[in-house]
Symmetry: C2
């Protein structure tokens, strides 16, 4: 059965340095998918991106995405979330990508920033959550 | 730049025991995504499934899928393939899932088979291939 809210184990999987495969719809009707860093707050999956990439454009246009997160320590446990954009904001996005660099790279600041980059945070509200447990 | 054919490194990533996130379109227009085992032949990504699962139904209906494969040894290397069904066949599907069990589980035969299961192989021909190299 799918749920519409995140539980504690979902939040653990999203807080650990696992990768999130973001799937969005291209304008031609095919699916774009890419693995990215991921974060979570109490109710939302939190994604941070540079605005000129393909998936945030698709996300803005369609309003929705499907996310899969594999537990890197046991790939037979995974999370699938279909959701919609609850918030898009530039507020705090630079500080947040530094926090993501600490989580994923063990570095104090995000090392890949380029002049002209505009970073945003998308908060994704779940509409369907399914977690597959191993074994 | 995206390619339309697989190269040697793509085939290595698909031959290693990495997981493939299969994204397909649900009838309601949202995206279904799930991580599964994966194989490769010279020109196709090879997927093996029980026919009653959600994604093969979507794949039959739409004819296409997007696949992402992360290198589990270095998640900053990954492969994204948007493709279409070149072949669906039951021929050899039972032997093939045993080969997949050897690859992923180190077991001689697939341990999860249930009475009534109908297994099929889908061969996916790439329309767009993109490999992101680390660093």
């Amino acid at each position: 059965m799918s749920r519409t809210t995140l539980d504690d184990r979902d939040r653990e999987l999203l807080s650990a340095p696992n990768f999130c495969h973001v799937s969005t719809l291209r304008e031609d009707g095919t699916i774009h998918a890419v693995p990215i860093w991921v974060d979570v707050d109490s109710d939302h999956v939190v994604l941070n991106t540079e605005t000129r990439r393909a998936w945030p454009k698709n996300l803005r246009r369609t309003g929705g995405a499907t996310l899969t997160v594999l537990n890197m320590e046991n790939p037979y446990e995974y999370l699938t979330i279909t959701g919609h954009v609850a918030q898009e904001t530039q507020d705090g996005a630079m500080e947040h990508i530094d926090a993501m660099a600490r989580k994923y790279l063990g570095q104090d600041s995000y090392p890949f920033h380029q002049d002209g980059d505009v970073r945003v945070i998308f908060r994704i509200a779940p509409d369907r959550v399914h977690r597959h447990s191993p074994g």
